[in-house]
């Protein structure tokens, strides 16, 4: 109970700080860069709900993200719906997509699920590419509506909205981790057959995790359309999102919700610096190498390393 109070005080303090930043800092660049990092935090936390607690490696982050982007595009094109509606609808679409993917693939063991999620990404990307109304392969330009006070610019507003999504994602992940859902997911990750036999409703739990994770990923993608004022299938569904989010979660460590947050901040900042100073290729290279190194040498991620240092024992579970 006490921990919950501390958590919520921290969350509110974070949001207030973000709101103050948007009021005080006039330069747009920090928000432009910060938005991407916040977006990756949401994606990484959402990924860990299925990938970390349940141990199902989802390569389809880009599918969910892209669907989020294009749900927003479709809504803007058809009805000119406001941002909040775009995000809410994207979350619903993401939940449905998660349910569909889950029903289709979660009966399979690990690798098949992973392959199926890549397949899904490409199938959806190709469908969007062939959908003229959404701009097709060439992409589509979008005009931002006027900004709502108290924000001075649209990017600042998006930054705040994404910060809200971060708090939402972390709160959900934290709730799952501490509730019977999280314990069930961890049980099925350790030994699915044993969990099933002791009465853990494994399929339902996996579906639930997949739905929640999908909804959060799509919600994180939705503001992306207005952020860039442009959307095209090749970049919205780029597999780089999948590998980035995978790397962030595994490098941070997936046993606790703090892991993906740390991983996303660390890699997100590194990526922003590298993209500005060197090139985006080197960016992906650094990401890939760090992913492989951590997977080999520090399987529990930074959290695991930290626990080893403080307890002297490696065996730490959340």
């Amino acid at each position: 109970m006490k921990r919950s109070i501390i958590f919520w005080i921290g969350a509110v303090a974070f949001l207030v700080a973000v709101l103050l930043m948007t009021q005080i800092i006039g330069n747009e660049y920090p928000f432009f860069a910060g938005y991407v990092i916040l977006q990756f935090i949401v994606l990484a936390v959402a990924w860990s709900i299925l990938g970390g607690y349940a141990g199902y490696v989802n390569f389809g982050t880009s599918a969910f993200f892209g669907v989020g982007v294009y749900t927003a595009v479709l809504l803007v094109q058809a009805t000119g719906a406001p941002l909040a509606v775009q995000i809410a609808v994207a979350a619903m679409v993401g939940a449905l997509l998660g349910l569909g993917v889950g029903l289709l693939t979660l009966r399979m063991q690990g690798i098949f699920f992973s392959i199926a999620t890549i397949a899904l990404t490409i199938v959806i990307e190709t469908s969007v590419t062939n959908w003229r109304y959404l701009g097709g392969a060439a992409g589509i330009q979008l005009a931002r509506p006027p900004v709502t006070p108290p924000f001075h610019s649209y990017v600042q507003m998006l930054f705040f909205v994404q910060a809200l999504l971060v708090v939402l994602a972390v709160a959900i992940a934290r709730y799952i981790q501490n509730s019977w859902i999280g314990r069930g997911l961890q049980a099925l990750r350790d030994d699915e057959l044993a969990a099933e036999c002791t009465g853990v409703p494994t399929l339902r739990l996996k579906l639930l995790a997949c739905v929640i994770s999908g909804a959060l990923m799509c919600a994180a993608g939705a503001p992306g359309a207005m952020y860039l004022q442009y959307a095209d299938p090749a970049s919205a569904f780029n597999l780089n999102y999948s590998v980035s989010v995978l790397a962030m979660s595994l490098i941070g460590g997936t046993a606790h919700w703090v892991g993906p947050v740390i991983g996303a901040i660390l890699l997100g900042v590194t990526q922003q610096l590298l993209a500005v100073t060197i090139s985006s290729e080197v960016n992906v290279l650094v990401l890939g190498i760090m992913l492989v190194l951590f997977v080999i040498a520090a399987p529990q991620g930074l959290i695991g390393l930290f626990r080893k240092l403080t307890h002297g024992r490696a065996e730490g579970k959340a």
Binding site: G51, G55, Y56, V57, F59, L104, T105, M108, G110, I111, F112, S114, I115, A116, I118, A119, L120, I122, V123, E125, T126, S127, T129, N130, A137, R189, D190, D191, L239, V243, L246, A247, L250, E281, V282, V284, L285, L287, G288, I289, L291, V292, V295, I296, P299
Partner: protein
Amino acid sequence: MDLLLDAVVIGVLLGCFYAAVSIGLSVSFGLLDVPHVAHPAFLVMASYAVFFLNDRFDIDPLVAGLLITPLLFLFGLAAYRLYYETFERRGSDAAVRGIAFFFGVAFIIEVLIILQFGVDQRSVTASYIGKAWRFGDMRIPLRLVVAFAVASALTILLALYLSKTFMGRAIRAVAQDEEAVRLMGANPVRIKQWAFGVATAVLGVAGALLIIVAPVDPSLDRAYIGRTFCVVVMAGLGSMSGTLIAAIILGVAETIVLTLFGASWAPAISFAMLLGVLAVRPQGLLGRRS
């Protein structure tokens, strides 16, 4: 109608080529259960090695493919050893990280290729590239015929290796029951390592075919994740004859869709078929497991 017939003929040729690029995965993933997502990346890497030899020393791409085969074999041995020591030996949770490991390796290879060769498409030169055979109205590119011939030979050779030789049978024995092989006094890890080496070595010629059939670019491995896994899963994990049949089905399906609906749908076909197979018949056409 003529167009459709064209599509079927080209599709069969293309299908045999798909069998050649998938057969390594059929061994590593189908028989050994290694979640080898980096297989297509290895394939594209082999293609670039062939491109380098062809471009710099003017070596025929097929010869170049044979030249790099021993290197790829050693690379495969080393890769499996690393995978085994870091993941398989550590047990349960390792599978998850094994997948992530190969995914990471695939991206590293892709970026290294971009840094070395750039993002442009690359192709090779040889006497049989650019010419075509004509049968009445039908026009078949000679490069596809060469790829078909070599691919069929490669697939059949590997299938014979697995069914007739001692080592080949040992590989299939490990796939069937690792514990029993251990009890017979053989070392399953060394057999698997050898098998993984063979699966990687095959990519030398397969990579040469890849760049003969069409120009390659660094991100081509993403498309081939769909094609190779579609073929291997549809085949039924580890079935060699299934691999050939599944690859031909995929080849024909791709060319027909291409003819009827246009090239923009092409990337999705293999992935959609893969999803379909996973949903309807995950054990594949000729599955070894029910």
